[in-house]
Amino acid sequence: MATILIIDDETSVATLLAELLDEEGYSVVIAFDGSDGLARARAVRPDLILSDVMMPGLDGYALVQAIAADPDLQDTPIVLMSAGPAGPKAAALPVAGFISKPFLLDHVVTLIQHLLT
């Protein structure tokens, strides 16, 4: 059973995704900000990280760089989510996928399935 780390400062969105992925059969861990997310990632070693971009403190972009710099985590696929556009900044990052908010649940599920096979 694959473990997915969900990081979003918006609790309603984090909870939604947790319920969806739980019902899809994944093991889910939730963090509500970037720093907490990085700490959970180091502790849990998830198979995939699903993180919001705009968060107070450590944001999604900084998180991506921190994960890439960590030898234990650098191979973990990361999917970023944002209410803003997927601009050139996101395109230049070593991420596995990008999801615009609001999103189709089918799209999220399909993407994750694809990345974990």
Partner: protein, 453 residues
């Protein structure tokens, strides 16, 4: 002194012609004009019209005697100063002589006449006469000179008056000219003041215009910031709502016992939330375009593939419309932003359906033309009034025939289409007539890279 002068006349008065002859003979050498009178009466008559240097007057004459004649001569203005020399006999008494002096005689000559004495005395009087004449000539000359001088003075005064008049005229003209000049100056100053005021007004108008523009620009910045923040803040709760209604539908789909009405309700909630989501996305796009924040990524992509995906998505649920996709099967590769171009094609085909409320065929023709990929979307709908055509790519613009038919829309779709196509280096064209449908054509530069996507 004995020079002759016929202009000098001497009057000889004696009643005896022999005496007159003797006198004439004696006086002739002097060369003067000798006038004779044989009576006092005749002498007086002659004296009316002539002047004489001297009168030789015999005392004893019949009728008016010498004394009476002398008195009458003296009584006349013309002759009152003419010297009279009486001719009288030697036996004349003292009394006689005195009487002669009383009536105006200046001298006596005693008969018989001594020629030397006669000539001497006459010469003296002639000289005197001449000198008098000369003096009076000189006086007359003097008078003439004086008169001339006076005339000259008069002339000069006249000239001076004329000069003064001319000067005054000149001064008057100078004053008039000065007045004219000062009037002109005043007019000029007025003109300058008017122009300065006009310039001031212009500067103030410019200043007001700048202020108005700054205010307008500030208002635009506030609006754009509001749009960005509001859209973003709206999307967070929308993400939760949209996600949860989808989650609910997923759960219900696995439950066979669920009522059909609940299924329909949840479908409506999902669809309308999706619609709301698209609208917010459009508002955000407007904000991005107007703040210059709309950027596109570039990757080779096949327009045919995107078109098939969009057509498939929009076809679902259509009843009265048909989407006809016409391609030659060739790859239509452009370098662009796939999501944005999908949005463009979605907007155009969706508009074609939306503005054909009566149904019909929407034909989408895609092909290579020269170095471009051209996509034409043609509908059989209500068309666009000619008066609206210049404005349809403006944001929030809606043609009034769309409003009359209650066709939904915010007037954003074509604005975004135009901007996105322009960012790709392409252009949008439209041909339409009210009631005769519309054809929107986008032209994008074909990819120069080899091979497909």
């Amino acid at each position: 002194m004995n020079h002759t002068d016929p202009n000098v006349q001497i009057l000889l008065v004696d009643d005896r012609p022999e005496n007159l002859l003797a006198l004439e003979a004696l006086l002739k050498p002097l060369g003067h004009t000798l006038v004779r009178a044989t009576s006092g009466r005749e002498a007086l008559k002659i004296l009316l019209n002539h002047d004489f240097a001297v009168i030789l007057l015999d005392v004893q004459m019949p009728g008016i005697d010498g004394f009476e004649t002398a008195e009458l001569i003296r009584g006349r203005e013309r002759s009152q100063n003419t010297p009279i020399v009486f001719l009288t006999a030697v036996n004349t008494s003292e009394h006689h002589v005195f009487r002669g002096y009383e009536v105006g005689a200046v001298d006596y000559l005693l008969k018989p006449i001594v020629p030397a004495i006669l000539l001497s005395k006459v010469s003296v009087f002639v000289d005197l006469y001449k000198k008098n004449q000369k003096v009076s000539q000189q006086a007359a000359q003097l008078e003439r000179t004086v008169a001339e001088l006076e005339r000259e003075i008069e002339r000069r005064q006249e000239t001076e008056r004329a000069l003064r008049a001319a000067h005054e005229d000149l001064e008057l003209r100078v004053r008039e000219r000065t007045a004219d000049l000062s009037t002109a100056n005043a007019a000029l100053r007025h003109e300058i003041a008017v122009r300065q005021r006009a310039e001031q007004d212009l500067a103030e108008a410019l200043h007001r215009e700048q202020e108005a523009r700054h205010e307008a620009e500030a208002a635009v910045r506030v609006r754009d910031h509001f749009l960005a923040v509001a859209s973003h803040e709206l999307k967070t709760p929308l993400t939760a709502i949209y996600g949860n209604v989808q989650l609910l539908r997923r759960r219900l789909a696995q439950d066979d016992r669920i009522d059909e009405r609940n299924r329909r309700s949840i479908n409506v909630a999902v669809e309308q939330t999706a619609r709301l989501s698209r609208m917010i996305e459009m508002l955000l796009d407007i904000s991005r375009i107007q703040t210059g924040m709309l950027t596109i990524s570039r990757a080779a992509l096949d327009i045919g593939t995107v078109l098939r995906r969009v057509a498939h998505e929009l076809e679902t649920g259509l009843e009265r419309h048909r989407i006809e996709l016409i391609t030659r099967g060739e790859p239509l590769v452009v370098d662009g932003d796939e999501l944005r171009l999908e949005q463009v094609l979605h907007n155009l085909i969706n508009n074609a359906i939306k503005y054909s409320p009566g149904g019909g065929t929407v034909s989408v023709c895609a092909e290579h033309r020269d170095s471009q990929v051209v996509v034409a979307v043609r509908d059989e709908g209500i068309g666009i009034p000619a008066s609206a055509l210049p404005f349809i790519f403006e944001h929030f613009y809606r043609a009034d025939n769309a409003d009359r038919r209650n066709i939904d829309g915010m007037g954003i779709g074509l604005y975004v289409v135009q901007e996105v196509v322009a960012l790709h280096g392409g252009r949008v064209e439209v041909r339409s007539a009210e009631g005769a449908g519309s054809t929107f054509t986008i032209c994008l530069p074909a990819s120069t890279a080899n091979g497909g996507p």
